[in-house]
Assembly symmetry: C2
Amino acid sequence: MVEERIWTAALVVIGDEILSGRTQDKNVAQIAQWLNVQGIRLAEVRIVADRQEAIVEAVNALRVRNDYLFTTGGIGPTHDDITVDAIAAALGVGVVHHPGAVAVLERYYATRGGATEARLRMARVPEGAELIENRMSGAPGIRIGNLFIMAGVPHITAGMLDALTGTLEGGRPVVSGTIGSWAPESEIADLLAAAERAHEGVAIGSYPFFREGRTGANFVIRSPDADQVERCMAELAVALAAAGYPTVAGGI
Amino acid sequence: MVEERIWTAALVVIGDEILSGRTQDKNVAQIAQWLNVQGIRLAEVRIVADRQEAIVEAVNALRVRNDYLFTTGGIGPTHDDITVDAIAAALGVGVVHHPGAVAVLERYYATRGGATEARLRMARVPEGAELIENRMSGAPGIRIGNLFIMAGVPHITAGMLDALTGTLEGGRPVVSGTIGSWAPESEIADLLAAAERAHEGVAIGSYPFFREGRTGANFVIRSPDADQVERCMAELAVALAAAGYPTVAGGI
């Protein structure tokens, strides 16, 4: 049997507003779900402050050990937007105005007061970069090698992900199935572990909840092999029912 | 002038369910806000998979360079709950059943079917650890030195944070003020940078939005010095108004 190649990505979320608790991050879940459709696994995430050393450290640690690296945040026109400079420093390249980005911004701001110097800051890219289309607002995203520099505002990031859909090489997407049961986790822990052991390449996650005064859990069965997921889920449902915990397909 | 001591914490979020995009993390924002009230800054976050090597690497990297380290997730009774073993490995200590935790679980499960072996897995702690009270469900959190091992389910984590309130040494909490304006960021970027430069120790974050077909931004002024925040916010409001962008206190 040939070992299946697993494609991985990492994400660096850049922003004091996430670390202060002011803003609830939405990009981790959004990018994770999008990556899975591309057959790429989100392997690790770091959330760092708007400080160049912090960004450089995270980018350099993660880009060498993953197939792709995404960043979100810090690509606007204000003083706290330092992502482009930090990534250029991490890669050891200069920062240039990208002619394509200048053209995009000049077109976008033609009817909005003109492309001022402050606005053209958003055309600055690490040397050697390409653009990622942004249909939502002026400033494009940036691609340099396996590194993707995205917006912080989630709906703008969503548009950039759309523009990238189908362009990244990946493997088989992970398929998942969920069943739920009003079972206390601690009652069925052995049974779950046995089900995971019996199906190679399958990972079972157990997510407890407390509702209506009762304890239950949802079980998420994940594998790139859809047949394995089906088989494992069916056998687990039988085992849980036999233990006195009937299951609900799709989760509770 | 004596340099003000800044207390920092890091957070390791442990869980495949966050990295797959299945579950939206809530603990980063919740812990960040709680830490700020304690006078401690959340300096960095890593989200890692349910794999021992990944947990060990993150814990060892972050605990030495922060005053406190928190983890969330992976302390239940099932096979995917490996946090205690991974942290014990990171610290180079063994894993023991904590007598206090055994007592808590025996009491909790006395009327719920008894403290089975699977349930007593939740009494396992790295050697030398103390317990963090959990008023929500059976299994306590765990403290070992500057390391705090918390639940993954946000409302259980919230209860554990309550139990820790006021027990951690910190500095002055960061105070923040927000003003908003219907100003395109790129129009007022220089003005913002100047306001930040003019007030030592103050950080201004600029958070753009697009609403009702118009562009605006909220500006968050942060410092441990409440007077500095007040002054900077007042001067920024005047400068923005003079540039043609009246402001709204508290943000838009």
